[in-house]
């Protein structure tokens, strides 16, 4: 079974190695502990959401609202914690909100049969408008609960907490997608929805679960982001959805469903974030951070296409 390893991942691994070597030659501080940890922390947010997005793309759906939801969730989490003084309630509120957005997307797509690209663009617009109705400015951290700050900035055993959270989520997602019936069914639904239904699978419910999972993961990422910025920023997360999708596609997951792995997604996230980091430590213009992913995503898709055409021969 070729669910985990295939050649596109070896190619990605090679690209990643080349990048690391090239950047470290030009800027030796690349391999300092601080920089490596900075890269990992950058990866964490993207990887958390990308885990859900991979499941969605495998099931042949997509969610463009994750960026807008990320910002809104951070505001909700911060605000509720401020008001109640309880981190537990704030966390629950943020997760409930983000999960609710995921559920809403899922219901619109599976029940109303709206194309998920369109449905989630619409949700994105509603969230972007909604967050400003909710708060005009950043929601500042008024509670100063230590655990909240730790969420983004803390360390356990030398590793940043966001990285640990991302690792746990990644492992859980990997196991779910690779070893459980749920994962196998997601691939089936994405590869051929009608065949899956005829085989007795509840295709719509599986998709709904994937949307819900993505929503909840956005909630987790939103809380971490709010902690890192020490505020709920309504403008945060702009373009985040595209970074996440770029990483997933770069990792070899197909837009048309039924194909892709989380290991690939991990590599995709690492490549994008190492490039980002390289741009910063080489003191290149940071606006290149928008250009490079654009080039990378087109290039990666094209290489994948070339490889698949060759395989088909």
């Amino acid at each position: 079974m070729s669910l985990v390893s295939d050649r596109s991942q070896i190619v990605l691994l090679g690209i990643l190695a080349l990048l690391c070597i090239a950047i470290s030659l030009a800027a030796p501080q690349f391999y300092t502990g601080a920089n490596v940890i900075a890269i990992l922390r950058q990866c964490a947010l993207v990887l958390i959401v990308a885990t859900g997005m991979t499941m969605l793309l495998v099931a042949a759906e997509v969610d463009l609202s994750v960026g807008a939801s990320l910002a809104f969730t951070g505001c909700v989490g911060m605000d509720v914690t401020n008001r109640t003084g309880s981190l537990v309630l704030g966390t629950l509120a943020a997760l409930a909100f983000a999960g609710g957005v995921g559920l809403f997307n899922g219901l619109v797509v599976t029940r109303l049969k709206v194309n998920s690209l369109i449905a989630t663009i619409a949700t994105m617009m509603m969230l972007q408008g909604g967050v400003y109705l909710y708060t005009r400015e950043a929601v500042q951290n008024l509670h100063q609960i230590r655990a909240f700050t730790e969420l983004g900035a803390g360390y356990v055993g030398g590793l940043p907490i966001p990285v640990l959270i991302a690792a746990l989520i990644f492992i859980a997602g990997f196991v779910a997608l690779r070893f459980t019936t749920f994962g196998r069914y997601l691939y089936a639904v994405g590869a051929n929805g009608k065949a899956a239904r005829l085989s007795g699978l509840r295709a719509e419910r599986l998709k709904l679960v994937a949307f819900l999972a993505t929503g909840l993961l956005v909630g987790v990422a939103g809380l971490i982001l709010a902690s890192l910025m020490n505020a709920g920023q309504p403008t945060a997360g702009r373009g985040f959805e595209l970074t996440v999708i770029a990483a997933v596609i770069l990792g070899g997951t197909s837009l048309s469903g039924g194909r892709g792995t989380l290991v690939g997604t991990l590599l995709g996230v690492l490549v994008l974030k190492v490039i980002d980091n390289g741009i910063i430590i080489l003191r290149w213009n940071q606006d290149l951070q928008m250009v490079v992913p654009g080039v990378v995503i087109i290039l990666a898709t094209w290489l994948d296409l070339v490889r698949r055409r060759r395989d088909a021969r």
Partner: protein
Amino acid sequence: MPADPALRPAAEAAAAPALEMRGIGKRFPGVIALEDVDLVLAPGKVHALMGENGAGKSTLIKIMAGVYGKDAGSIRIGGRETELRTPRDALAQGLKVVFQEIALIGEFTVAENIFLEQYPVGRAGSIDWKRIRGEAAALFARIGFDVDPAAKTGDLPISQQQMVEIARALAHEARIVVMDEPTSSLTPSEVALLFAVIRRLTALGIAVVYVSHKLDEVFEIADEVTVLRDGRHISTKPIGAHDHDSLIHDMIGRRIENLFPRSRGHHKGEVVLSVSNLSTDAKLKDVAFEARAGEVLGFFGLMGAGRTELAKAIVGFDPIRTGTIAIGGRPLKPHDTRTGVSLGIGLLSEDRKGEGLMLELPVQQNMSLAALENFSRAGFVEEGRERSAVQSFVDRFRVKTPSLAQPIKNLSGGNQQKVLIARWLMRGLKVIVVDEPTRGIDVGAKSEIFALLDRLAGEGLAVVMMTSEMPELLGLSDRILVMAGGRITAGFERDAATQEKILNAAIG
């Protein structure tokens, strides 16, 4: 009707060939699709092209259509050497191919589809819509084809769409018309209309290539027949030089003594499927029947009779309006495949690619899909058990695949079908509904599929078979029900059924 073969050589000598293909070769990576194939068409004659699936017919047709380039050989049209590199080249040379798959734009009107390849334009380069509608209507009137040129093509039944395609060939100044399985979805009266059209074409001196599996049709319409096998040219003879057996012999290289290796006398058990009063919004009207364990219940009907609709309704795939469906005495919740599968009814769809296969995924995943829960503990798949179960089915059914990890798109149609049947057996069913189980499968694999279905009935399953193939129906069924217009119009025990009685009920 074919002319007296004795008269033909003189006539052929008189006219230069309309098309002369010599030594045609085509290879795909790893496969030789065609090798040294000749095809010579005389103007005004119908030339049948025959062979099993995979014999190279469709590759040859696609070379004629300009879809594939040839690797070797020469093509002469009207005596002049030519190259057919693109579909446009072929059209420009007066060569029109009517493919089996409907090649019409569903959103366009019938009239527009007729002129898709060359829109008539006015002085300023604008499309002359009036002329398009007028000429389409006139064309239909001439060939006696009753359809509104302004109708949206996608709204027409498949059989009428096929007629539109054929009409399209006439709208162009085609000198050579190739028809790939043109009758696969036509009713008998439409077939008669088609044959009248073909005779009109030949009377105009147009050369017609007629590709078909249906021997009766070939004997009725063709003047000559070329047989391909495994990409090679086997024979070209006047039709009068063939009989059924010799033609089949040329096609498969051996005689199939018994296509339906039937174990006589299934033991019929109790009723496992009972359907009553079943109606749907779209098609079905008050359908009621029962199927017993251990029998093959054949449903026959022409295009649009409602066989596929019935199949999809009774497995819970499509919603129903009224009626009840019970499997093993327990009611099936309509429009819910999950309870259907757990009660023990499953569908082998006619649309293998669209509703059966997960093309990119391996054989293993494809086969175990419906039965995955049998191999799971607490939600985790035990891949070892899964693999050995899949392997045992691959061995038992003699599925030809290099490995279980092979993407199923790389298997032949027959092997794909075996995997899909195994998908259901692995799950364990009481009733298997098979819809056109041998569509697109070549003769050799067909008989294997038949044997498999027969064995299933022998093992105590109820096999409900939807088919439009008369030999399949008569060869395999224990009992036959005939559908027309969404209703069951007649029922026969196997021994009482005759082709005539069945057709009468199907038309009625």
